[in-house]
């Protein structure tokens, strides 16, 4: 059993703002938890606090129910894969793998067995006698992973391990990591700024911003129900279209201006009453936007404006339209019967609308 629990964990460096602010996180045994966020959001610092290489300023960190705030890193039964791999440059691959075990007085035959097994699994056997400088980036990455696996720890920590690899290698290694997770079933905590990695690898995502946890949930949960505008725009490429529109009065609740009309059918009038006469932040994902006027049958909204740019990507096309003051991106199919400079209408289902409070930027939960 390897659960990790953070209770109000914070990290401060002197008198400045907190690097990690009151993080509460519960990671279950065998879970693949991804800490996702932009640079500087505190995710790496949180990971390092879990590892024990960064001290905890406030709060409680427990592993398997045991509070480990003051337990040194080497006694936490945790292994870490660093962003720069952090291999020992003066040791061979075999020694790199065996080093941690030797330092823990594991019997030699056991060390040999584990090293052999892990090398086999990761395809490192032909490189065992080489030094890291003679390996490629991908191979070094695997050695770093192997070094962690050989320890058979309770928890694996990953600090942006794929960011130094090229695109093709990244995809391969990502799948390799997912495979290892299924095989080992260990608890893994993974830090990244890449939302694709988060969506494909995590059983749960924890989105962080400016030191705080913004939202925690399964990847699809976080994608379809973002807790605020930050999460809404961070997940999804291209980012969700957000417009600030005044709320109308009248029977059919709408937020609209000259260039956009958004039906608010998913919310009760009572919920929206406080915003009467003010504006709301409306969100629609690019993939929910279609070209052409809204069909009569389903309740729909529309945008109208001039096409600023068309970006053909091969399998799909992105169309950027300026609807009034706002810019809206639509993700359309391969063939788009329109040209730059034309004025078009874009439409979308009422069911695809997200609402956010303009003052707090938090989402207004759908009700109907």
């Amino acid at each position: 059993m390897a659960t990790v629990q953070l209770d109000a964990v914070s990290k401060s460096y002197g008198s400045g703002p907190l690097a990690v602010d009151n993080v509460n996180l519960s990671i279950a045994d065998g879970e693949f938890m991804v800490l996702l966020g932009p640079s500087g959001c505190g995710k790496s610092t949180t990971l390092r606090m879990i590892a024990g290489i960064e001290s905890i300023s406030a709060g409680k960190l427990s592993i398997n129910g045991r509070v480990v705030n003051n337990v040194p890193a080497r006694d936490r039964d945790i292994a870490m894969v660093f962003q720069s791999y952090a291999l020992y440059p003066h040791m061979t691959v075999a020694d790199n793998l065996a080093f941690g075990l030797r330092r823990r007085a594991v019997p030699k035959p056991e060390i040999a067995r584990r090293v052999r097994e892990v090398a086999d699994l990761l395809g490192l056997t032909p490189y065992l006698a080489r030094k890291p400088s003679a390996l490629s980036g991908g191979q070094r990455q695997r050695v770093a992973l192997g070094r962690a696996m050989v320890r058979e720890p309770q928890v694996f920590l990953f600090d942006e391990p794929l960011s130094n690899l090229d695109a093709a290698l990244r995809v391969n290694t990502r799948n390799e990591l997912i495979r290892q997770h299924h095989r080992l079933g260990s608890t893994m905590i993974y830090v990244t700024h890449d939302q694709v990695e988060a969506m494909t690898m995590g059983s749960r995502i924890c989105v962080m911003n400016a030191g705080r946890v913004v939202q925690t949930g399964s990847p699809l949960e976080v994608y379809w129900n973002p807790a605020d505008t930050f999460v809404a725009r961070f997940l999804g490429a291209p980012p969700m279209n957000l417009l600030q529109l005044p709320v109308g009065t009248g029977e059919r609740l709408l937020a609209s201006n000259d260039s956009a009309t958004v039906p608010l059918t998913l919310w009760r009038p009572a919920t929206l009453a406080p915003y009467a006469g003010q504006s709301l932040i409306v969100g629609v994902r690019a993939e929910d936007v279609r070209l052409g006027p809204p069909p009569d049958a389903t309740p729909s909204g529309w945008f109208r404006g001039r096409i600023d740019a068309i970006e053909p990507l091969g399998a799909e096309t992105l169309v950027l339209v300026s609807a009034g003051a706002a810019e809206v991106t639509a993700r359309l199919g391969r063939d788009v019967p329109a040209r730059v400079g034309e004025t078009v209408t874009l439409s979308f289902d009422a069911a695809a609308v997200h609402l956010f409070d303009p003052a707090t930027t938090t989402a207004i939960t759908r009700e109907l």
């Binding site: 590892a51 870490m80 020992y88 440059p89 030094k131 400088s133 070094r147």
Partner: protein, 317 residues
Amino acid sequence: MPQQVGNGSAAWRRLLRPGTGGDTSGASWLVLLLFLGPALLVFGAMTAYPMVRTICDSFFTIDDPDKPIWVGLANYVTLAGDGTFRRAVVNTLIWSVAAPVLDVGVGLLLALCLYAKVPFTRFLRVAWFTPVLLSYVVVAIVWLWLYNYDWGIVNVLFRAIGLGGLASAWLGNPHLALGSLIFIDVWKWAGFNMVVCLAAIHSLPSEVLEAAELDNCGWGGKLRFVIVPMLRPTLLNLYILAFVAKMKVFDLVWIMTQGGPLWSTETVSTYVYKRAFAWNTFDLGYPAAIASVWFGVVIVTVLLLNRLLRSRERVEF
């Protein structure tokens, strides 16, 4: 940085390359001349030419500057049998091989002390570097006093803690003199090595040290398995630097013991000086021969050391 010159014609061809500069349009010879000319002129006149001339001198007896007498290899033959020269070479080699080990070793230990995040690190770094700046004249005078048999602090301290038997004539005893001088040299240079080692330790990638932490390495473990191995290039570099410097040592010996007592501190440089400028018969040819031989020895030993110590793979990170 200079190209690594090894054996083989490929390496020599590399030397003839135009260089790493960015100006590909080709500069006029006049410009090159004006920039590089003065330096090459000074170098040629005051370094290259004298070097060649000294070697040529060694084949003459030069007691009258206007009438050098050709003696062929006679000076070298005499040199082969010169007991004082042999003694001087031994002393200099002892100094050059042993002192750097102490220099660099103490420097490394001091750097590790400062790396352990002690208070006043900046002050200590500055304070410990001070002996490096003092001229050898100052150092020699001060240590002459410190080594004084009656009231020098070394003997005073020994007597004060009851080890009066160890109080000695540090510079007067032929068995102790060389060691005493080497001790001073280490005192002077440890701070230099300390600064370099400290900078090198700080430049080690922190993630590797963190990985060692997770691999159950405490201070001792990190030191032994990570820090010192990764510092090897710097330590070897420092050793070679110190070696080269010790092969040239003159000031300290000349002022403190002039090579005595009984040639126990005679070094090649003091011997050359004596034969050239302080001998009862004036002859520049013989000391020129000594200098030429020594020049050859230095070049060969530096190349050997370089090859020996750097032959293993570079530690890349």
